[in-house]
């Protein structure tokens, strides 16, 4: 029995490893999209006028308010079909997870921006800097550094949420594990292997972000004096 399980794991792991490449692509795409949208959203929410920050709040409220599975179905079977956007399950998953992650990421960045305080902004303006120059050169470089721990949380959560794209048939780790399990009637070793892969990916990504955090740390900052 033990031997059989090991054989099964041995036979299926290349198949699951290929799935983890899909998962990594999905997570990177969604995190990237979330970052690209989340940063300007945070800036808009903090520095924008009432209208801009209102629209962004509405967006955040929507994407944080719905379960990820509802969002996936709503967009993949609903909206994308309705507007005859012919997207693959993989692309749709990146879009939905990315749009959702943008809502969460924007709040991570917003918190960081607010923690910097208005003093440095005033100093920059008093030197004759334009507001956006100050945001790009003074505020964001600091806010992004502060955001890394929160962002690594978002990575870990998004990685595991990505398994839910199984529901629309993205060929990621869980979908593949499920195929094998139903075909072999051996769910235990297969799901065990899938679990191991998820744990390794989480650990590796968080570790990488940890290294990045230390690498870009401002000297002397946050140390006791």
């Amino acid at each position: 029995m033990m031997r059989e399980n090991i054989m099964l794991i041995y036979q299926t792991y290349p198949y699951l490893i290929n799935g983890s490449i899909i998962t990594i692509g999905l997570v990177c795409g969604a995190l990237g999209l979330g970052f690209a949208l989340g940063v300007p959203m945070a800036v808009g929410q903090v520095y924008g006028n009432k209208f801009i920050s209102g629209v962004i709040s509405l967006y955040v409220w929507f994407f944080r308010g719905l379960p990820v599975l509802v969002l996936l179905f709503l967009f993949y079977f609903g909206l994308f079909t309705l507007i005859q956007l012919n997207l693959s399950a993989f692309t749709s998953a990146i879009l939905v997870l990315g749009l959702r992650s943008a809502a969460y990421q924007s709040q991570i960045f917003r918190g960081s921006i607010k923690s910097i305080g208005e003093g440095q902004m005033l100093a920059a303006l008093s030197l004759g800097m334009k507001k956006y120059t100050a945001i790009f050169n003074i505020i964001l470089p600091q806010a992004l550094r502060i955001s890394i721990p929160g962002w690594s949380n978002e990575y870990a959560i998004l990685l595991k949420d990505s398994a839910i794209t199984y529901a629309i048939g993205v060929m990621e780790i869980l979908t593949r594990a499920n195929f094998v399990a139903t075909r072999t009637y051996q769910p235990m070793p297969v799901y065990f292997l899938a679990g191991i892969i998820f744990i390794i990916l989480t650990y590796g990504g968080v570790k990488l972000l940890n290294i990045l955090e230390n690498k870009v740390k401002t000297p002397g900052y946050g140390e006791e004096r």
């Binding site: 440095q120 005033l122 303006l125 008093s126 030197l127 050169n137």
Partner: protein
């Protein structure tokens, strides 16, 4: 002080500045002017509107009423162009407001590069020169978190000076410092005054005010109560209130108003 000619033109003119926050009147019609090379010291109890007044001068706070003139141009009429004026008005804040992610050198040079569009090499030379002026060229590569309070404030003075301002505003530059660090900052400001910089300084340091100010302005509840030479305000103010305030502050900071 004698080198100032009586008829020199005002470099900065503040006319009838008013500012309200909701129903709270912070400034109620403040007017004064400052000539080239003069140092004016503004004193007054906390909440009297001193900081708001300084911020109205470079429009970090937009006044409700009144006008600001820099040389011959009305700043309050050229809000689209405000960054041109702000470059000429250096500002030093109570809590330094250094850019925490940049070392001392980068703190000083960033506005030269991003605002004055200087090339990197030129900006760096200028920044080092300004750091030398405040005695910190050896600390150029240290980050704000690695500097003492006094050093931070001197970097922030160098940062403002690098823009070659024609007038400098100091908003309680020593109030956030440990007592033993105040001296080094006041020394830098004194040297600037000696070098002919035009300055408006909000401070509670009466000894400093007495030694560098051409004029002291006493503000309370958003109005100028008293103004005049240090000698006049320390010995013979128009209002009893001024005398009381000066006595109280001098007592607090370990100096009596009467010693010379």
């Amino acid at each position: 002080m004698s080198k100032l000619s009586k008829n020199a033109k005002a470099i900065l003119r503040v006319e009838n500045i008013c500012k309200c926050y909701n129903t709270n009147e912070i400034l109620r019609g403040i007017s004064f002017e400052i000539k080239k090379g003069e140092t004016k010291v503004i004193i007054g109890p906390s909440g009297s509107g001193k900081s708001t007044l300084l911020r109205c001068i470079n429009q970090l706070t937009i006044p409700d009423k009144g006008s600001i003139w820099l040389e011959d141009e009305e700043v309050t009429q050229h809000m689209k162009d405000i960054n041109r004026f702000r470059q000429k008005i250096g500002m030093v804040f109570q809590d330094f407001n250094l850019f925490d992610h940049l070392n001392a050198l980068r703190n000083v040079e960033i506005a030269l590069i991003k605002v004055k569009k200087m090339d990197k090499k030129e900006a760096q030379e200028k920044a080092i020169e300004e750091l030398r002026r405040v005695g910190l060229e050896k600390q150029a590569h240290l980050y704000p978190a690695q500097l003492s309070g006094g050093q931070k404030q001197r970097v922030s003075i160098a940062r403002a000076l690098a823009m070659d301002p024609i007038v400098m505003l100091f908003d309680e530059p020593t109030s956030a410092l440990d007592p033993e660090l105040i001296g080094e900052v006041l020394e830098v400001i004194k040297n600037l005054a000696m070098g002919g910089m035009t300055m408006i300084v909000v401070t509670h340091e009466m000894g400093f005010a007495r030694s560098v100010a051409n004029e002291i302005i006493f503000i309370e509840e958003g109005k100028i109560i008293d103004q005049g030479t240090p000698h006049k305000l320390f010995t013979n103010p128009d209002h009893e209130r001024t005398r009381k305030f000066i006595c109280k502050i001098a007592e607090l900071y370990g100096e009596t108003a009467n010693n010379k």
